[in-house]
């Protein structure tokens, strides 16, 4: 199991580099993760997306797709790409402490 040290704490990661244990997540940690994936300082819009994702995951057991975020979170696809450049669904899931959204094959 891979680990990383964030906020002076050793944290376990899954095979995609996302948090292995969701209980390790905190708002401060989310900010650290955001710096790691080059999203930078989190603003209110970022938090709208992150909170929407966490609620969806709680209900459905899977992180939502970009299409669903666009339809239901009130943040448009265009904005999602500005907030989380290059792959918003993947990056936002990582910052939200959720596993990588299930891949489609």
């Amino acid at each position: 199991m891979e680990t990383t040290v964030l906020l002076n704490k050793t944290i376990e990661l899954d095979k995609d580099g996302h948090l292995a244990n969701r209980e390790d997540w905190s708002e401060e940690l989310a900010q650290e993760l955001a710096y790691q994936v080059e999203v930078g300082e989190l603003n209110d819009k970022h938090w709208t997306v992150i909170n929407f994702m966490r609620n969806e995951f709680e209900e459905k057991g899977d992180a939502p797709s970009i299409r669903k975020l666009n339809k239901q979170s009130g943040v448009s696809t265009k904005e999602l790409y500005q907030l989380f450049p290059k792959g918003p669904a993947k990056k936002a899931a990582k910052i939200a402490g959720l596993p990588k959204p299930k891949g489609c094959i």
Binding site: K15, S65, I66, R67, K68, K71, T77, K78, L80, Y81, Q82, P85, K86, G87, K102, G103, C104, I105
Partner: protein
């Protein structure tokens, strides 16, 4: 008299109607199949049409040739599925009640989901090959095209037949070589994925082919719009790719009747138990083929393997028994690599495509994840099997469950990519 209604007479629906009519007594059961089209299309054949290898006659036959005489056949579009009241409203005015409903309505391309796609360049410099008309129009265009930038773009996942984009660029490379104009064509595959394919071992193998053939790859590109005047596609994060010829694989979605019936997710695919194929919401509705939201490939081989599982589970449901058969996500796809050769991949929910021999371990005759002439012949021969055996619901000597026999895991990636099969 009890009633089973099957919506959709494509690969999955046609196999199911044949299996059910054979097993159920017509005195006790009425089996009805509904489809909007009179003709059955061999969709894997669309790929060959742009390059003049197949024509329309190779891929189209009357549907009635493949339906059993015991079945009630209705040609109509579907208006609405009223699941709480167990009935389906058709556009032709019919209302069909059911005891069990099988939804096999597939997926369709939606170029209208992308801004600027269906505009003044549509069917002039922008084509699809996921419809018969698109593939035929592209064939006409290619006959006289003098070259330039050929961009193959995948809009978003999931798509039907995830290997088709790769096959298209491989065959295009071959086609232009044979025409003596490969040096006049730049072939670029533009994908939202981070590699040539979704699965790491196959992606690395297929990526190698792309490099050998001089095909360029642009990754993590999610198309936002098409600029018809400047002839470029633009991603949501403002990257641009110029084209002279754009071949698009647009957004794939379930049919609109699913949305109207409030049975689908944001792409109109129906939440389905990935093992039993029962609808997650309605006990007497089952879903098969591209219409499901399963994390498996959307492909004919998947529909075929699912049909064995679904048949067993429907029979269990009819007899009041628990649903015992479990689908493992098995898919099996021939991949054309050009120059009369091909690859074969075989995988499921838990195991990605691996090298080896298929179906007989150590012998083959097909090689997994490796280029061979035999694999290409297998792909061409499959069309005969499809029309004559597969969709008629006859047995093929292939188990629905994937087998690890004859496969091996390349040493370098062992432990990393293989998940436990529960």
């Amino acid at each position: 008299m009890k009633k089973i209604v099957i919506l959709g007479g494509g690969t999955a629906g046609t196999i199911m109607v044949n299996k059910l009519c054979k097993a159920l007594s017509p005195a006790d059961w009425k089996v009805t199949i509904v489809d909007k089209e009179e003709t059955h299309h061999y969709q894997p054949g669309y790929l060959f049409i742009p390059f003049g290898i197949y024509g329309e006659d190779d891929v189209v036959k009357p549907k009635k040739n493949f339906f059993p005489k015991e079945a009630d056949i209705i040609i109509s579009e579907i208006d609405l599925i009223d699941a709480p009241n167990n009935c389906v409203y058709l556009k032709n005015g019919n209302v069909l009640g059911y005891d069990y409903l099988i939804i096999a309505t597939g997926s369709e391309i939606r170029p209208d989901e992308i801004e600027g796609m269906v505009d003044k360049l549509w069917n002039k410099s922008i084509f699809d090959f996921y419809t018969l008309n698109g593939a035929l129009a592209l064939a006409e265009f290619l006959k006289t095209w003098e070259g330039g930038k050929l961009v193959l773009n995948i809009a978003e996942m999931p798509i039907k037949c995830p290997v088709a984009p790769l096959e298209f660029v491989f065959l295009a490379d071959d086609y232009f070589k044979k025409k003596g104009m490969r040096d006049k064509v730049d072939i670029i595959l533009v994908t939202p994925l981070d590699a040539a394919f979704t699965k790491p071992i196959a992606a690395s193998e297929l990526g190698g082919f792309m490099r050998e053939k001089g095909i360029k790859l642009v990754t993590e590109f999610s198309i936002g719009s098409v600029d018809n005047d400047a002839k470029k596609i633009i991603s949501w994060d403002d990257r641009e790719v110029d084209f002279d010829l754009l071949v698009t694989i647009p957004t794939n979605m379930g049919i609109e009747a699913i949305e109207r019936s409030e049975l689908g997710d944001e792409l109109n695919f129906i939440p389905t138990d990935k093992e039993t194929l029962q609808s997650k919401e309605w006990e007497n509705i089952f879903v098969i083929g591209d219409a499901t939201d399963l994390p498996s490939s959307k492909a004919g081989s998947v529909a075929h393997f699912e049909s064995d599982i679904l048949f067993e589970n429907i029979m269990s449901a009819i007899n009041g028994e628990p649903l015992k058969a479990k689908f493992d996500g098995h898919a099996n796809c021939f991949i054309e690599s050009g120059n009369g050769k091909g690859l074969l991949i075989d995988f499921n929910y838990y195991t990605e495509p691996l090298p080896g021999k298929f179906p007989i371990p150590g012998i083959g005759p097909f090689s997994l994840l490796k280029e061979s002439r035999m694999n290409h012949l297998g792909k061409l021969g499959f069309r005969w099997l499809y029309w004559n055996v597969l969709i008629k619901g006859r047995e093929l000597p292939l188990e629905p469950q994937m087998s690890m026999a004859g496969k091996y895991v390349p040493k370098t990636i062992e432990n990393e990519t293989i998940e436990e099969n529960p």
